[in-house]
Structure formats: C-alpha cells, structure tokens
C-alpha cells in the first residue's frame, strides 16, 4: 500500500503539530500495524487463557488441605457462607470499577466474546469462593469470629467509595491478615497430629487445650504453603484483570 493511499482520520496536517489519530485506507478500513496486532493477541492470551488458568488454579487449591497424620489430600467443598461472601466481593468489584459491566458484556460484541468474557468472570467467582474457603477456619469458634469479621468488612466496603487501587490494597490487607490469623496464629495453637492423647497433654498442654477448646483441625504444615500460593495467585489475577475488554477503551 502506497502512502498516497493513506489518509488520516483526523486530517491534522499542521507543520508543528504531531499527526494523531487512526490511519485508514482509502476504503475506510483501519490499518493496524504488526506491533498493534501482536499486542492485541498478547492481551487476548492474557485475558482468555492466563487469567482463567490462574483463577481455576486458585479454585483447585482453595479447598485443598493436607492431613496432619499422613499428609494425604483432603478436598473441602466451600460452605454456603463462602458463596455469599464471594457474591458480595463480586458486587464490590463492579462497584469499585475493577470490572465494568459494559466493558465485559455488550450487544456490540459477538457471541463468542461475550461467552469468553462470561467464562473468565465465572472462573473469577469460583476462585473468590474458594479463597474464602481457604481463609476461613473450618469449624468452631474461629470460624464464627473470622467469618463475622469478613462479612462486616465486606458489608462496610459495599457502601464506601472505592477506587480500584484502594480496593486492591484493602483486599490485599484483608486477605493477608486472614491468612496470618489462620495459617500462622491458629496453626501454631494447634497440637501436632498423630500423637497419643496422654503424650500430647504432657508435652503440649496449652496447645492441646487450645485445639480442644477452639476445635481446631490438625492439618499438615504444607497446607499453609499451598494456601499462600493460592492467595498470591488470586491477588495476581486481580492485578492482571482489565476493567474492560474493549480494545479501544480510553479508560483501560
């Protein structure tokens, strides 16, 4: 294509003013450079391949625990509370502008794009559910206390004015604190598994009492590492998530 066939959409040809706008051919079709195409492909790969993989990995790991006795796998399905908290979290994402509904679903998009966008958001919801499953204690008093704290925080956030950055910071702090409470504080209060009751009482009286009183499950230390990976992946997924999937979105 020769340069004579090209014209600028904005028709700005002043000497000192840089030419801006989209290059179009004489028939009106936009001319997209190879770099722009590669960047667009990369963005699509990130959005439709990498992000679902990240969120689904969080979904897989969120309910996974390792048995304290023989390190066998335990898969814990999410409770109803996790689903409710994840729903509130999704609403929060929309309210804070982390996800813009009109940027993800539109009549101007074709069916495949709408379906692909929906699949990304479904994986994100599943990951959110499993993240709460990961961070909430499994049973007993800690479940009620931390569950109430989670719900209180999310409910308050729902009526606050958030921008995306603040929301991400707030969620990072919330999830980080919950992780520390469950996998460092409560895990250190839990008596080791596989020991006889008498030996456990004699060697670790405080931990054995705390385990009994707080009804703490005895998981292997590897569980904490797995869940750390899950929380980090989830936050990475949120960081990589674009607010809109429109290519020419000025706010993107």
């Amino acid at each position: 294509m020769t340069s004579t066939e090209l014209s600028s959409k904005n028709d700005v040809m002043l000497d000192e003013t840089p030419i801006t706008g989209e290059l179009v051919a004489v028939d009106g079709r936009p001319i997209v450079s190879t770099d722009a195409r590669a960047a667009s492909r990369q963005k699509s790969c990130l959005l439709y391949l990498v992000l679902p993989l990240i969120f689904l990995t969080v979904t897989l790991l969120g309910g996974l625990r390792l048995n304290g006795v023989d390190s066998s796998l335990i898969f814990l399905p999410p409770s109803l509370f996790c689903l409710i908290a994840a729903t509130v979290l999704m609403i929060l994402f929309f309210r804070a502008g982390l996800i813009r509904l009109d940027g993800w679903f539109s009549e101007s998009f074709d069916l495949v794009k709408n379906a692909a966008n929906a699949s990304v958001l479904v994986t994100m919801f599943a990951a959110s559910t499993q993240l709460f499953n990961s961070l909430l204690p499994e049973r007993g008093l800690p479940l009620w206390v931390i569950g109430f704290c989670f719900f209180w925080t999310l409910w308050n956030n729902l009526f606050s004015n958030f921008d995306t950055k603040r929301l991400l910071k707030s969620l990072g702090a919330l999830f980080g604190l919950a992780f520390v409470v469950k996998y460092i504080v409560l895990a250190n209060l839990t008596a080791p598994a596989g020991e006889s009751w008498l030996r456990s009482i004699l060697e670790n009286p405080v931990r054995e009492t705390a385990t009994y009183v707080l009804d703490l499950p005895r998981f292997s230390a590897g569980t904490g590492y797995l869940q750390f990976f899950a929380v980090t992946l989830f936050l990475l997924g949120l960081f990589l998530l674009p607010p809109s999937t429109r290519i020419s979105d000025p706010n993107e």
Binding site: S40, S44, Y48, P52, T59, G63, L73, A116, S119, V122
Partner: protein, 175 residues
C-alpha cells in the same frame, strides 16, 4: 492467531479444567496416585449410567457366571461381591434375587438365624419386586423360586415363635 480462536480455546480450557476440579472435589482422592483409580471408577460409573439412559444396560455375563459358581459352592460373600459388580445399577431381577437368596443361605442356621443378614435379604427382595413383580427363577437348584416364597422364609426366620423351641427344628434342611 485470530482473537476468536483464542477465545474459543480459552472457553474450552476453562471448561476442561473446571470439570477436572469438580471431579477432584467429588471423588476426593487421597493421593496423586489415587486420582487415576478414582478417574477409572468414575468413567465406569458414567458409562453404566449412559447405558441405562440409552437403554443398552446389560448385566456382565462373565461376572454373573463367576458369582453363580461361588453361590453354588456356598461362598456367599464372594458371590454377592461378583453379583453386585455384574449388576452395578441394581436393575436385573435375576441377579438381585440371587443376592437376596445368598443372604438367606448364609444367614440360615439350624438353631437360629442371623437376623442382620435376613433383614438385608428382605431389602434386596424389595428391589426384586420393584424391578419385576412377577419374577420367577428358572434355577432348578433353588427350592424357593419366587420372591414371595423367599420373603416368607425371611419373615418366619425373623419372628420369635413357640415353634422356634421345637426340637424337630434341628433336623430341618436349608432350602
């Protein structure tokens, strides 16, 4: 690659990975090695359910024949296991009747019967009647050929009556 292809691949990958996760949480394997065992049993169950839906479900004839051999030599535990594997969906009246009969023969005693086995036999017999109300066995080796006759034996065996103390009971034969 066109954006549309990436989107289609993305949806497919998400669906496959999602199904795998659902399978893991449903099957609850205890180790990585256990995943393949659970996957095999899940596929077998799904295939059997598919056969039921398609109307092509059949009892495994080899396992049934092995079960019958074990039944005829009074190895009732092995027989029941083979019959259950031959008819995993519990849809064949003949196989279920043999399972019920195996409970009768194993639980029968000259002095007293095993009530727990007789109760299990009654439950299995209910299944036979639900599948085929008019079922009649063609096995000449069985004295009790119909669910009604077998049910009567079970119910009589579970009752405590004055007849239970009749010394002549010691000479009665298992049917």
């Amino acid at each position: 690659m066109k954006e549309k292809y990436i989107q289609i691949i993305g949806i497919s990958v998400a669906v496959v990975y999602g199904v795998f996760i659902v399978f893991l949480y449903a099957a609850e394997p205890r180790s990585i090695g256990d995943i393949s065992t659970k996957a095999r049993s899940t596929i077998e169950t799904a295939a059997t359910k598919g056969q039921v839906i398609a109307g092509t479900y059949e009892v495994d004839p080899v396992k049934f024949a092995d079960g019958l051999k074990a039944f005829n030599v009074d190895n009732f535990i092995a027989a029941r296991d083979l019959f259950e594997r031959a008819d995993p969906e519990k849809r064949d009246a003949k196989t279920q009747f043999y399972i019920a009969y195996s409970y009768y023969r194993q639980g029968w005693g000259r002095v007293s019967n095993d009530d727990a086995l007789f109760k299990l036999g009654l439950e299995t017999l209910d299944r036979v009647i639900a599948i085929d109300r008019d079922f009649r066995s063609d096995d000449a080796g069985l004295t009790l050929r119909t669910p009604a006759e077998l049910r009567h034996e079970f119910e009589e065996g579970l009752k405590v009556t004055a007849d239970d103390f009749n010394p002549l009971r010691l000479v009665r034969e298992r049917k």
